[in-house]
Symmetry: C2
Subunit: 331 residues, 2 copies
């Protein structure tokens, strides 16, 4: 099997450029892959974010097909653009891979990213490839702001807290994938296996983000990447408020536990607050029809307290979530 070393850097880049050329809209791409830098035309403010996936930390090669890995890398990164209510327009990929990595896999990975980005309206315009002892992808997404950019700091006391889908599925999938093979292969292991899609194919909530950004009733918005409680905590901290959530109202993904849903992370659903009232509720429901998901109310924003996020059933402080540099903490 031909490796990246066998294929060589420049033929690899040329193959990437060929794949990118045919895909998605080239609107705004004045200069794409092939020069020193991409030249991009935007009519509104640029929304820029970068996110990384590192082998052995965020994934193992056995967990995802190469194309799924490329897709996941794009979706994890573009989620931050969705959380601003912006359009995704351009993508850059910094790919680091061992010389022994199969060329076919590297191309499938990049094409998985290109195809998924194209479906989301974004075009691969540049990047970097280099050698590395571990496979890693750093994806930069350049978006374009809409008339309003949603932020974390705009929650108000009295707001209802919503989430756009079931949570904890990715955490449950990763726990299953991490099991020793023997356990996974046992009949009990198979019977209880959660769906892997929440991990292999996280949702793209760009449509939802854009629709919500048009509603005056929307307060703060964030994507659930570190876990519901931790990300709601980010909203509270930036907005100077606290939040009460009803754990019984939190939508739990199939095969996941309530703990996975509260603290698991990697869900990439949107978490947002909206002014209370029937008109706001109707607006939120209508805004989400386009995104084919539902807004599930799970709590409300309250006056600032010692704890940022508390349970409305027993007043218990909720603390925990994914933290880099340590193993995922759970309370």
């Amino acid at each position: 099997m031909k490796t990246l070393a066998g294929l060589g850097e420049f033929p690899f880049i040329e193959a990437i450029a060929r794949s990118a050329r045919g895909k998605g809209s080239r609107r705004g791409v004045v200069l794409g892959i092939g020069d020193d830098a991409a030249r991009l035309r935007l009519r509104r403010d640029a929304i820029v974010t970068v996110d990384s996936l590192v082998e052995g930390v965020h994934f193992r090669r056995t967990w995802l097909e190469p194309a799924e890995l490329g897709r996941r890398a794009f979706r994890v990164a573009v989620s931050d653009v969705a959380a601003c209510g912006a359009d995704a327009r351009f993508v850059l990929l910094a790919l680091a891979a061992p010389s022994s990595y199969p060329a076919r896999n590297a191309l499938a990975l990049v094409r998985g990213l290109i195809d998924d980005a194209a479906r989301a309206g974004a075009h691969l315009v540049g990047g970097n490839v280099c050698r590395s002892p571990v496979l890693s992808l750093a994806v930069t997404v350049v978006g374009e702001a809409g008339p309003r950019v949603l932020t974390r700091d705009s929650a108000r006391i009295g707001d209802t807290v919503y989430v756009t889908g079931r949570l904890g599925g990715a955490a449950a999938a990763v726990r299953h994938l991490r099991r020793p093979p023997r356990t996974a292969a046992s009949s009990e292991g198979r019977r209880r296996a959660p769906p892997l899609a929440p991990y292999t194919k996280p949702p793209v909530r760009l449509d939802v983000g854009r629709s919500l950004a048009r509603l005056r009733a929307i307060g703060a918005l964030i994507d659930v990447s570190d876990g519901l409680v931790q990300d709601l905590g980010h909203i509270c901290e930036r907005s100077g408020v606290s939040a009460e959530i009803d754990p019984r109202a939190v939508p739990v993904a199939r095969g996941a536990s309530l703990e996975d849903a509260l603290f698991g992370g990697d869900d990439y659903e949107l978490l947002f607050t909206a002014r209370p009232g029937a008109a706001s509720e109707r607006g939120v429901d209508e805004a989400l029809v386009a995104g084919k998901c539902r807004a599930i109310p799970i709590g409300r924003i309250v006056e600032p307290r010692d704890a940022k996020v508390v349970s409305s059933t027993d007043g218990r402080a909720l603390v925990g979530g994914y933290a880099h540099f340590s193993k995922g903490r759970r309370p």
Copy 2:
């Protein structure tokens, strides 16, 4: 010594945000570190590029102080913006580091990048931090196009080929750094040690790029990252021409060989072509005064031949340069 695991992800990000806030111009930063994505305002086209440094491939921890590593990561990435003749405006850093990496070093690294970026007119507006078995930095630079963006495809037959400084110094420095400690410590090793600055502190040629972009006489431009011959080959390929260079005219850095200068890479000087003639020469010389460097003519653009780059002394084809996924090839 406190590690990144001991410090924790969010206090680390908060410390980065504090360091970034005080440095450089915040012009155009509508939303910086602390939300889902940065929101940036540009008046002209965006120039976007990403570049990575990976431990064990591009550096070893013993080769550079953490602040030097941050500076080098910025300079390697911003060089592509200089090669477009654009301004550097915003930076994003995707930093991957082992949990055991000292927090003090991680902060020094990021501050080295922030400070150097600020001197170049660019502001750290976002990024990502995560755990990784090896230290790596992927730096995204967002620049702003000037009235003209310089590209690789605009060399014309008859153009003079120039380079902005001495070449091969980084290759010589890396060869020295790679030596086994015993050799390096011997008196002969010390006596023959080349300066390390070309590697630890590559030049920033933003001023030069901008000045050259104003000159109508300039043809194609690229930065020397893969080696003079290989990068000139990129210009030739994109412009549909060949180039003749006089190896005796190529400026060789102190401690480096002619082979280092021709094929070494990592120099980050600018390599460009300009229409021939006295007016053009004068313009080039004046344009480079601001950048405190000299334009050294090393050859000329000729009709396309079998070989992209040939020696003007003996007509020999010159081939070679840095290639990722293999060890640096030298002819």
